[in-house]
């Protein structure tokens, strides 16, 4: 446990030195604040709270942005250290390989979590100071959005680690990271939509499973259908009624998308010849 924390702490410190953490946090805060200000403008009389508007727009943006940041941060994690020669020395220390991998992952995930919580939290503070009364239900949804965003980031960090462990050079790892982003974030939904539009008679059951097979979709469903106030505004209330995926299931799926790539990466890494 201690070893994990030592490695995670070093990773976190390095990320702050790199200004990676600062840049990411600022980007998240800027986007979140912009969206929350935009969101609070037209709603006064419509009857939808500014928090709900912000959640819908912010979570839609998070799906594109956060996986990209997570992958950019993580694709270099293993292959880069091997390339630079720091890995040989690290592995000669009394550290198990899975500890090294998990420790580094915790550090990177902490960077993402920090950036998300601070960045989106700033938007939350801005909303709270906006003067409109906001109910506890809305705040719960907002907190759930931040929490699930951290999970989404962690899932794509884990995928980045897997890419970084599989290959032998950094260029390939970067290529895989971009491909992962394109597939999960852009192409997957398009393909799904295409299948549905072609009237292939895809059942609800099958659709549910296909949505779970993508962490980004699980995140989207969680945020847009998980809370009544939000789904009403997002226009997904109808969908929410049909999709029989409960909130715990969606969370479990996202946790699975963190644990599985990571376990796979750890298994591959421990067999890797340095």
């Amino acid at each position: 446990m201690n070893t994990l924390l030592i490695i995670a702490g070093k990773e976190l410190r390095e990320a702050t030195r790199n200004r990676w953490a600062v840049a990411t946090t600022l980007l998240m805060a800027a986007l979140a604040l912009t969206l929350s200000f935009l969101g609070s403008v037209p709603t006064g009389t419509v009857g939808v709270g500014p928090v709900e508007v912000t959640i819908v727009s912010l979570s839609s943006l998070t799906i594109f942005l956060l996986p990209l940041i997570a992958l950019l941060l993580s694709f270099d994690a293993v292959v880069g250290e091997i390339d630079r020669g720091t890995m040989t020395l690290l592995l000669s220390y009394p550290v198990a390989r899975w500890q090294l991998l998990l420790g580094k992952f915790l550090g990177h995930a902490a960077v993402i979590a920090l950036a998300t919580v601070v960045g989106y939290g700033a938007a939350g503070v801005a909303l709270a100071m906006g003067g409109t009364a906001i109910g506890p239900e809305s705040w719960r949804a907002f907190a759930a959005m931040i929490g699930s965003s951290v999970m989404l980031g962690a899932a794509f960090t884990a995928l980045g680690y897997l890419a970084s462990t599989i290959v032998r050079d950094r260029g390939t790892a970067a290529g895989i990271a971009v491909a992962v982003w394109l597939c999960f974030v852009l192409l997957y939904d398009m393909a799904l939509l295409g299948i549905l539009a072609s009237g292939s008679g895809l059942g609800v059951e099958a659709l549910n499973w296909l949505l779970l097979a993508n962490p980004a979709d699980a995140y989207r469903l969680f945020n847009l259908t998980g809370f009544k106030g939000v789904s009403a505004f997002a226009g997904t209330a109808g969908l929410a009624a049909h999709v029989q995926l409960s909130v715990p299931l969606l969370l479990a799926v996202m946790a699975g998308w963190i644990a599985t790539p990571l376990a796979l990466a750890a298994a591959l890494f421990s067999r890797k010849q340095i």
Binding site: I6, G85, T88, L89, Y93, P94, Q273
Partner: protein, 312 residues
């Protein structure tokens, strides 16, 4: 069980088609400084990686400090091993102190000793506060040595430790190595710079294309190699015929620059030859200004063993 710090038995390591290490046997005893010499790609670094447990042997058995270095329970073993890798790299955005603190914590070594370590390897307090990315090659190498010495290791692997160091630094480097050896640390040192290993190593292991070609003390290797000893004479005159007659069949005579004549002879004939030249028959004494005996250097012996290996 055994008194050896490390034992390598019949170890072969294959990376796909290529054999990096082939059937190597090697033992390292406590308080021994062993130098491993060989070309790039001779298998030195591969052998060290095997002994560190970074890779596992395709064939054969390795025991380090009484255990298998690649096993899951190797942490207690690794705590007692120091390693200075070839082309050492550190995380560039950490300062020297942070780097050493990080490695000390990983190794479970007390961080109180870090200041003493910095002083030992000669890193200035001002340098410790700077980021590693600003370090020169020599400073990075000192930091690398400092991390290798963390926790007072029983076994020290030094892979090309003196590349990029200036002569003064090399001296202080070898002084540290000698001190550790006297304290009972086993040291395995890889190097290309063979001449600087003379006087440092108790034993020399010659590697070539993954195979161990020779293993023994410098004196043993010298007698094994049977390389000629050279006697250099500085003569006041150009007259070398008298000298040639005196030397006879036993030695080859070459004329070098600056009135120096070099005689090459077998090690056993050396004393007799010097006596013939300098002491016998004073009537026909040959004027000699200076005499110098040159033993075959490690470089020459290394070349000899490689030639022999190639011939086989």
């Amino acid at each position: 069980m055994t008194d050896f710090t490390a034992e390598v038995q019949g170890v072969t390591k294959r990376y796909g088609e290529t054999e990096a290490v082939r059937g190597v046997d090697l033992t390292l005893a406590p308080g021994e400084c062993v130098a491993m010499v060989g070309h790039n790609g001779a298998g030195k670094s591969s052998l060290i990686k095997l002994m560190l447990g970074l890779t596992t042997p395709t064939e054969g058995r390795i025991r380090v400090l009484g255990g298998d270095p690649a096993s899951a329970a190797c942490s207690p073993i690794r705590r007692q091993i120091g390693f200075l890798p070839e082309n050492v790299a550190f995380h560039p955005n950490m300062t020297g102190r942070e780097t050493l603190d990080f490695y000390a914590r990983l190794k479970g070594a007390s961080r109180c000793d870090n200041d003493a370590l910095f002083e030992k390897v000669g890193l200035e307090p001002a340098a410790i506060k700077r980021r590693v990315s600003t370090y020169s090659k020599g400073m990075r190498q000192r930091l690398a040595l400092a991390q290798a010495l963390l926790g007072g290791p029983k076994l020290l692997f030094l892979d090309e430790p003196t590349t990029g160091l200036d002569p003064a630094l090399r001296q202080s480097f070898y002084a540290i190595v000698a001190e550790l050896r006297d304290q009972g640390t086993t040291i395995l040192l890889c190097s290309h710079a063979l001449t600087e290993l003379e006087g440092q190593a108790d034993r020399v292991v010659v590697m070539n294309r993954g195979r161990k070609v020779a293993d023994g003390s410098l004196a043993t290797l010298r007698s094994l190699a049977r390389l000629p000893v050279r006697i250099r004479l500085t003569l006041p005159t150009d007259d070398i015929d008298a000298l040639a007659a005196r030397v006879g069949e036993g030695a080859a005579l070459t004329r070098l620059a600056g009135g120096v004549v070099e005689l090459a002879c077998a090690n056993d004939d050396k004393v007799g030859l010097v006596r013939r030249i300098a002491c016998e028959s004073p009537a026909a004494n040959i004027a000699i200004e200076d005499i110098e005996i040159v033993q075959p250097s490690l470089d020459e012996m290394y070349a000899h063993f490689l030639r022999r290996e190639a011939a086989e």
